[in-house]
Amino acid sequence: MSTELETRWGDSGHVTTAAMLAFTLALAVVGLFTMSYGQVALDWGQLWNGLFYPESDPVSAQIVRDIRLPRVLTGLIAGAALGVSGVLMQALFRNPMADAWSLGLLAGGQLGVAMVVTAAAFAGPAAIAFLTAFKGIGLSAGAITGVAVFAVAMVALSHRVGNITLLVVGLMLGFTVQGLVSVVIHFANRLGGRVYSGWNDGTFAATTFDDLGFMVIPIIGGMIIAVASSKGLSAMLLGETYARSLGTDVRRLRLLTLGAVVLLVAPVTAYCGPVTFIGLIVPHFARAIARTSQILPLIPLAALSGALLAVSADTVVHLPWEQHFLHLNAILALVGAPVVISLLLLSPSLRGSA
């Protein structure tokens, strides 16, 4: 009996480990490539010197250390955070199309930031100067408040309406906020408008090393909570009644998970602007690789594949294009939207309820 048990219990752990190694490797390759290649191409020697011997090659050092490394690290952290937040959202809402963007949480963050910018514009030029200098703290506060408020509202709404309705509401919230924001920004002065629209683009290139510190601390907190609530979220796959009968304190779990989502999503939204599609599609990759819907093994996979997707998309954005540069969200949409469409068409539960 023991051998029979073991063969049946031999899980897909090997595949998961192999996939994580492959992702890490790919991440290193893409990272090194984008660090060396761009408007200015650096060879390996220049990259090495720029990273470790800045005195020997000040120009390369500035490009690598001040511009490219923060950008790559930001993409890595943001992608990982968004990927994990997607896993949490899809488990919490029991909705394979849920993520911070599709359910309107990013819109909440946008609205929060717009309000902060406008408030600062009314308070006077000194406040705007402060915001530009310390954009992290002010914009973070706005984004965190906005994301949190919208998250709570969506959870409340999810008890009353079905999955598809909730998604449509989330997307409509996005449009509503866009409209509101243009009105609000209209009343902010030109400088405030520029602060906001610079942020609203969605890019990993606007962060400095100091910003990274502010960004990474809440994200680490969010990751820890995500891991801690993964067991309860696995039970939630059977629905609330069964989760409770399996010993899950559902109310506490819901609060913790929402807290983790806010901690993961708000800093990214504050420092990078709204970044779409990563949280939505990465959990599906993770599930396909791990071949399980248990939450815990999905977390490292989603973090790694999220980071890989973010850094790769950012690499494409920063290739030395002749004209101007591409937008990060445009690249993500080109990858993400077809994935979402095929998921919708292939998933019986979503197709049936439409």
Binding site: M1, L5, R8, W9, R94, P96, A228, S230, K231, S234, A235, L237, L238, G239, T241, Y242, R244, S245, L246, G247, T248, D249, R287, T292, S293, Q294, L296, S347, P348, S349
Partner: protein, 255 residues
């Protein structure tokens, strides 16, 4: 031993009291069928016993411990639940569902020990679900899914098992098979199993104890006693049908 102590099940607010149950006790190994008409309050009573909703008054104790006052984990080790609610979870295999039954015993990572695996294996065997354990849960038939959900509850190895209308989607052989399986499990493993069913005649046949829910009351006893006392007729008779005490079945009333 499971004891109801002047239990009042219902909801705060306008719906109010649904069922008042006099005090009663169930010994280990009891197999109870709960019957009553639609909307009589069977589900409310079972949810209250399982600690999924709080009682309006009175309490339920298991070996002297108040179930309503237990924390979620202790309660999950004491009582397992199967409902009629159709669960759909894309990406889960039947085995994953049964594995969730071990959650009350595993650590934060949900890692299975050898004991957990043996419990899961035994549960799959007893419900004849081994064959489709690796299949996607959503691809199974209603009967197979119900067997998987029962296997999950068996894997939970709780002292009490509460099952609400689980045979509703099954054909007659399927219903008999599942009720027989549960009755055997109660006897062999010395567990208390409480099962509600629409299937009155089958319940009369299989039950060791019968709870009849009707008009806000709970009548209980051995099936023979309840038939003799007329409690079944009281709960179910209508203008069109009446319960025949001798034949143990319903007859159309002569017009």
């Amino acid at each position: 031993m499971l004891a109801l102590e002047q239990l009042v099940a219902g909801y705060p607010g306008p719906r109010g009291i649904v069922v008042e149950a006099a005090s009663l006790e169930l010994p280990a190994g009891a197999f109870v069928c709960v019957i009553g008409r639609n909307g009589a309050g069977k589900s409310t009573l079972l949810r209250t016993i399982a600690g999924l909703q709080s009682s309006l008054d009175g309490r339920v104790t298991l070996n002297g411990h108040d179930i309503g006052a237990m924390n979620a984990r202790d309660r999950s080790q004491a009582i397992s639940v199967v409902t009629t609610e159709k669960v759909s979870s894309p990406g889960m295999r039947a085995l994953d569902v049964v594995t969730l039954g071990r959650h009350p015993y595993t650590g934060w990572r949900g890692k299975l020990t050898r004991d957990d695996q043996i419990a899961i294996d035994g549960a799959l065997r007893r419900t004849n679900a081994l064959a489709f354990a690796p299949a996607a849960f959503d691809s199974l038939s209603d009967g197979e899914r119900q067997r998987v959900m029962i296997a999950r509850a068996l894997a939970q190895t709780s002292t009490v098992m509460v099952l609400d209308e689980i045979t509703a989607f099954l054909d007659l052989p399927g219903r008999v098979e599942i009720m027989a399986l549960l009755r055997r499990h109660a006897l062999e493993a010395n567990k208390i199993i409480i099962l509600s069913s629409h299937d009155l005649e089958l319940s009369l046949e299989m039950a060791e104890y019968l709870w009849v829910v009707g008009e806000g009351r709970l009548a209980y006893g051995k099936p023979g006693e309840l038939i003799a006392s007329g409690a079944i007729g009281q709960a179910f008779d209508s203008n069109d049908v009446s319960f025949d005490r001798e034949a143990h079945r319903f007859r159309l009333r002569a017009r």
